[in-house]
Subunit: 274 residues, 2 copies
């Protein structure tokens, strides 16, 4: 578990609001890890060790583990177990189901996996989100505006009251929880809409994917949406974990991570957060 | 895999369009199964054996397995392995992510688990659904109008073009796939909107949860949405699998199943499908 206060303190101590995405694809990890019995697990351990000084959160995406069936889930569990104390453990699973079923997912992610935060799809509404909101230091991270092309298909549709759908999702979801147990996913590729998002949810943390491989800009994101408490967790996955492959793997991953952390430290200074 | 033609034939042979939902909660299964090393697996095997003469599909909901972590996924895999040939294996997982990630989920559900169909949440749009559409006899089952109270929060919102959101979801999704690889989830509690759904998607199969424990009526559903090819898979979970608990467990489950199958057989006759 990690409360809002603990998360803000951690950002100040680490001088970073970086989340490292553990989208570990066995076909993309450096060949040297294939000497181990469980290449993905050893890769993840190495990534965690290299990046820990520069980040505040880790975000395994369940898809990359489920592709290996139950053995993949075992790797996911062992990876989460390996994340040190003091880092927010976000499971990027985008779950969403009726209340009776979401209670089971809450048991899966809070009790079995022992995650601190879970990404949640909002399409099924209130009773699909509420089961995640009842525990101190646990977070539902609701999809608002995602970083992909397909976000335009529905999230950007205009409603008859003048709002775009993602705005209505945010307006509704902030009624269900608080800034102590609810965050929103906002893709870094949505620079111009970050100001809108921040107006709708002035104190909520945003989990921001799409910096790096997907092309979003950290400076743009911060200029629109950083708050007095930071209020941002910016995720990078592929641009960090696949930064190197050969003998310089450790050094390349560290460099990619340090570069983002230094930009973040500067932004935290500029906004008088540290 | 199961093609549209195979599915329609199967419905005619079984005289049923029943899907049995394997939402197997270890705290709700009859006590006699707790003598086994894996109570949920033995329960599922018993349910499959009792219900197979009366249904055409099985639908495990991943949440009920994930609550037990990787051991739960192992049970899920063994359950799917135990479903006989000739039954549609639907994984109710409601996945939805960017294209790169959905490719991993396709690998998880088509290759690792070997499911035939997967429920998919539409909020992230086209590239979150397309990765499931490329394989013969495999189905993406897109959430359109769900059976829960929360469906009113977003699915029923009116857009500025006059459509409700779920109508736009259906209009978009039928552009992405065909009635050979795409179905829609429509909750049985939405009786009055079934006619709307059928107009939007005249030939697509609908997967209909919400009969039984959630209160939907089979006759209502059929009157609005049955087609010349049937076009319906009606799911019942709790009302079948928890129909009995003591010595009469097998008999009670069979009775619950037979009752639905007989209603379905009558409807298939009335609509000249068999």
């Amino acid at each position: 578990m990690m409360t809002r206060e603990q998360l803000i303190n951690r950002i100040k101590v680490q001088r970073s609001f970086l989340c490292v995405g553990l989208d570990s694809d066995p076909t993309l990890i450096p060949s040297k890890f294939h000497q181990y019995k469980n290449p993905v697990l050893e890769f993840n351990k190495a990534i965690i060790e290299i990046t820990a000084p520069f980040c505040v959160a880790y975000k395994p995406n369940t898809a990359f583990y489920e592709r290996n069936g139950w053995q993949g889930w075992q790797t996911l569990q062992e990876t989460v177990n390996h994340i040190p104390e003091g880092y927010l453990k976000i499971l990027d699973a985008k779950r969403g189901d009726i209340g009776n079923t979401s209670n089971q997912y809450a048991a899966a992610f809070w009790d079995a996996i022992q995650a601190d935060a879970l990404t949640v799809a909002p399409y099924m509404g209130r009773d699909s989100v509420e089961p995640y909101l009842g525990r101190e230091g646990k977070w539902a991270v609701v999809l608002a505006l995602t970083s992909n092309q397909g976000a335009n298909d529905f999230q950007m549709l205009k409603l008859d009251n003048g709002d775009l759908l993602f705005e209505q999702v945010v307006k509704s979801a902030i009624q269900w929880g608080s800034d102590d147990n609810l965050m929103f996913v906002v893709g870094a590729t949505r620079g111009d809409l970050f100001a809108t998002m921040r107006k709708l949810a002035p104190r909520h943390f945003f989990l921001v994917p799409g910096v790096g491989a997907q092309g979003g800009s950290l400076a743009d994101v911060a200029s629109h949406a950083i708050t007095a408490d930071c209020g941002l967790l910016v995720n990078a996955s592929r641009s960090i974990i696949y930064a190197g492959s050969g003998d310089s793997f450790e050094k390349d991953v560290e460099s990619a991570c340090v570069e983002l952390q230094q930009q973040m430290e500067l932004l935290l200074h500029q906004h008088n957060i540290i």
